[in-house]
């Protein structure tokens, strides 16, 4: 069972069976450490190639590789799993964005930026989702908790690192009301804009 072809088959079976992303360490374990990391990487790359053009893809995430359905299949996913989690409210997403882009932050920081009291419920629900956790305490009175995003957050959003977050935009000094809808639609690819603020992305190292 240790021909390269078999190794690849075992790899494929393990990746298809695992709901969580598998990293090199996990994959090595499959073969009791007898297959080198380079070989594993090469075989995983081959697998990604093999699956090219299918409705399921092998993606590279923060904690490793995982097979998942392609985003274009979303309408079918909805039919298959009608009780999938709903979209989060703006309040939740803004809180998440502050933690993701400004981490580590305290609840106070979140309140300062949003201009409203940070709801304990929102933080709780993001914690329950496994997307954020407490990474320490700020050395100020009350020793408030410092919140940061987790690997699972990156995995679930299809990212390998925080650097792959959509870059923060430089804000135009006049904020016209008119083109707002278009601007929301274009949001995911703002990274290609020349005016994206270079410094902003770097602040979340």
């Amino acid at each position: 069972m240790q021909h390269p072809a078999d190794t690849k088959r075992i790899l494929e079976a393990a990746l298809l069976a695992s709901q969580e992303p598998l990293g090199i360490a996990g994959l090595k374990q499959l073969f009791d450490g007898e297959v080198s990391a380079e070989t594993l990487r090469r075989l995983v790359d081959e697998l990604r190639e093999d699956w090219n053009g299918r409705a399921v893809e092998l993606v590279s995430l923060a904690s490793g590789w995982r097979f998942q359905t392609r985003p274009e299949l979303q309408p079918y996913v909805e039919k298959l799993f009608p009780d999938k989690p709903p979209r989060y409210s703006r309040a939740v997403m803004e809180t998440l964005a502050i933690i993701a882009y400004r981490q580590p932050v305290t609840r106070g920081d979140i309140e300062d930026i949003r201009g409203v009291v940070a709801s304990a419920q929102i933080i709780q629900s993001l914690e329950n989702r496994g997307w954020i956790d407490v990474v320490g305490h700020r050395d100020t009175p009350g020793r408030p908790e410092l919140l940061a995003t987790t690997k699972k957050f990156l995995d679930d959003l299809g990212l390998r690192s925080l650097q792959e977050l959509p870059p923060l935009e430089e804000i135009a000094k006049t904020l016209p009301l008119e083109p707002a809808p278009a601007e929301t639609a274009a949001a995911p690819d703002t990274g290609t804009r020349a005016d994206a603020q270079p410094a902003a992305a770097a602040t979340n190292g």
């Binding site: 298809l16 695992s18 959509p166």
Partner: protein, 267 residues
């Protein structure tokens, strides 16, 4: 993919189902709509950004007078309708008025030439909030595991010696509920613990009869276990008889009553 964020940038609110494109100029808003209007904003910064956009104001050189007036009119309207207004809105009102008054004060010509623009802090906060607001929208557009994409996890075929699937009582309840939903049957009554107890005794009686084929009526009862068990056992017997699973016979008055499996006669 339409995002929840897109709603915000199109109509401001919906009143009786009709989109409200912008606030009426006379600021008259029906009270119910006002509440909807308030809910459309995530807080005072969000409202301020809306007002700035609406008037196409330069965020780096905000004309404080009109902005403050508009904001206060809005807040006043809310208060006059006795609608609950988050404290943050009032704090912001105070801040706006303070900035406005500081701008009105004549500046000493030479005292502090480097004095910061009183609006600077507000502008910094508005820009930061706007940036986060957009980032939040962009994050929401990323395909999310569980929502937009499904992590593949195929069934692991167990070997013969493999472990057996685990089942919790709650799984059974869920399976039953699934049946109910699928069948779209009207829900009338519950399987109570009492009823389950009867069914449990039905199985028990059948088991006993399978071994002994015929039992005397009183052999089926265990008086030492209390009245409740007696009653349940009796109900189980009645139910078994009703479902034609057992036969209860008695040769004559006061003769022993026998219970046997309904199929024992033919089988």
């Amino acid at each position: 993919m339409t995002s929840a964020f897109a709603d915000r940038s199109a109509p401001v609110a919906r009143i009786y189902g009709e989109p409200l494109a912008e606030m009426p100029h006379d600021l008259y808003i029906p009270p119910d709509a006002l509440e909807v209007f308030l809910e459309a904003f995530e807080g005072p910064l969000d409202l301020l950004l809306y007002l700035i956009r609406k008037e196409n104001l330069d965020i780096l050189d905000i004309p404080m007078a009109p902005l403050t007036r508009q904001y206060l009119e809005y807040v006043e309207t809310m208060r006059s309708k006795n609608l609950e207004l988050a404290a943050e809105y009032l704090v912001m009102a105070a801040m706006l008025m303070e900035i406005k008054s500081r701008l009105l004060l004549p500046r000493p010509p030479s005292a502090e030439p480097q004095e910061e623009d009183p609006r600077a802090e507000l502008v910094r906060r508005l820009l930061e909030y706007e940036r986060i607001r957009k980032a939040a929208a962009a994050l929401d557009e990323l395909p999310q595991a569980g929502r937009d994409v499904i992590a593949i996890s195929v069934w692991i075929e167990s070997t013969a010696a493999g472990r057996m699937p685990g089942v919790r009582p709650q799984d059974l309840a869920d399976a039953w509920r699934g049946l109910l939903h699928r069948a779209r049957l009207a829900v009338h009554h519950r399987v109570t613990r009492e009823e389950l107890s009867v069914r449990e005794h039905m199985s028990g009686i059948l088991r006993a009869l399978r071994e002994r084929r015929v039992l005397e009526f009183r052999e089926l009862f265990e008086p030492q276990r209390g009245v409740a068990v007696l009653v349940v056992t009796f109900l189980a017997l009645l139910e078994l008889a009703r479902e034609l699973l057992i036969e209860i016979t008695q040769a004559g008055s006061f003769a022993p009553i026998y219970v046997k499996l309904a199929d024992a006669a033919s089988g």
